[in-house]
């Protein structure tokens, strides 16, 4: 089966600019996650979707970050305006469901550098 697809793989922008990331989950996976992974740290969840509804966005900086999941399939994560501390790898993951025996499958991530 095809894995979780993310694009772009790398992005470099200046602070205060805008950026968007795209994720295509594994076909049939209802749950989609966006994580932020700062260098030297473990991934931190930004937002979790169940189909096209938000389950958890408690750690999403809503003043600058937004995310949507169109028709319960693809998802985009946007940062506007970007700050230096947003430099990180942004990982997308999907799972069939939320049970622990339904593991999350991760994409290769997008490495964002803010100048």
């Amino acid at each position: 089966e095809a894995g979780v697809a993310q694009s772009p793989r790398y992005k470099i922008i200046e602070k205060r600019q805008s950026v968007a990331f795209w994720c295509n989950p594994i076909s049939g996976h209802a749950t989609l996650y966006w994580y932020q992974q700062i260098l030297g740290q473990g991934p931190k969840l930004l937002i979790q979707f169940q189909n096209n509804g938000v389950v958890d966005d408690s750690q999403l900086p809503k003043d600058r970050f937004s995310a949507e999941r169109l028709k319960g399939v693809d998802s985009t994560l946007k940062i506007q305006p970007a700050k230096l501390e947003d430099s990180a790898v942004y990982l997308c993951a999907s799972s069939f469901g939320v049970r622990p025996n339904q593991p999350q499958h991760f994409g290769d991530g997008t490495r964002l550098s803010i100048l």
Binding site: G3, G40, Q41, P43, V98, F106, G107, D108
Partner: protein, 115 residues
Amino acid sequence: AQTVTQSQPEMSVQEAETVTLSCTYDTSESDYYLFWYKQPPSRQMILVIRQEAYKQQNATENRFSVNFQKAAKSFSLKISDSQLGDAAMYFCAYKKDGSARQLTFGSGTQLTVLP
């Protein structure tokens, strides 16, 4: 809130030898799941092994096994017959049973395998 601690930022092992990575966690729940994920330089997170807290038997997957000590809230990963391909960042993660919420990750341990 649950926390996951990995106290070893870096570890190294000689090829074909055995290495143990440590993880401790803090939770007031009795039903939960613990995971070890591997993240190679490609950045894709790969599930290595999963342990259900209600099971006393330690999980094993080929050369990977865990030592789960529920009372001590300890969950270590043992890699036997280490191979060069095992070199990666390893993350310990926690998930509450019955919760739709996502994983809580530790800060990771960078494993180097020496030829």
